[in-house]
Symmetry: C2
Subunit: 113 residues, 2 copies
DNA sequence: ACGCAACTTCGACATCTGTCGAACATCCCT
DNA sequence: AGGGATGTTCGACAGATGTCGAAGTTGCGT
């Protein structure tokens, strides 16, 4: 019998206590994902399609998944779009100072000169 | 004419100003390399073969190369062994607070519970 | 109802990465 | 000189990763 199709699989997020540092560092080591996090650190919430990155929608979706599963972001449904937020408080609780330090390091010229 | 063979190719390290944040984060996102950095953060200097990791020598050598090229460590020749040191001061200059925060985060239970 | 907008899921594909064993290069010690 | 210790370099190889296009799902407007 045909199971009622859901919109999408409900994404599963790690609990704050289960956030793994190596996963976080790996998630942040990609330029596209770092840009997403940087943008989010300056703005509380943002729709998926509005980030200043230059990749195909499917690629972007993949990066969101990596960030979600690493515990860096959360998604909230609103109308027919998805709003992305940084799990800043959770990260601060789990790894005090980490996110701020990384964001500042990149903002201050993290790419090689 | 046979060029005088050197012991090894002199490894080239990035200048402090050229250290790339994404390279650093990527280098740190591997458990073996993170262990090396952790060990080094508690001890000033250490021979290559004495790190508490469980991989083949060739694999270890590969990880050292990644860490070197990311700007995280330096090697110093002594007798027939190589001493590894953390570029803590350089990193502090380039990305203030980063190394300390990451080391503390991992020490404090960075792996998922 | 129809079409459009916003994302995700699903292959496919090239590249990168971590791992190892074998072979090589140095240096010390006997 | 010979042998052992210490590391590096060189393939090889399986698995992960970033990227895309095509197709599918859901909700809003017209």
């Amino acid at each position: 019998m045909p199971r009622p199709s859901r919109r999408r699989e409900a994404p599963h997020y790690p609990e704050t206590a289960d956030i793994d540092l190596l996963d976080v560092l790996h998630a942040l080591s990609d330029p596209t994902r770092m840009t997403i996090v940087q943008t989010l650190s300056a703005e509380p919430e943002r729709a998926c399609g509005t980030f200043p990155v230059d990749v195909a929608p499917s690629t972007l979706s993949h990066h969101f998944k990596v960030l979600r599963e690493a515990g860096l972001i959360r998604h909230r449904e609103e109308a027919n779009r998805r709003l992305t937020t940084l799990r800043a408080a959770d990260l601060e609780e789990r790894f005090p100072g980490l996110l701020g330090t990384v964001v500042a390091a990149y903002r201050g010229g993290g790419r090689a000169s």
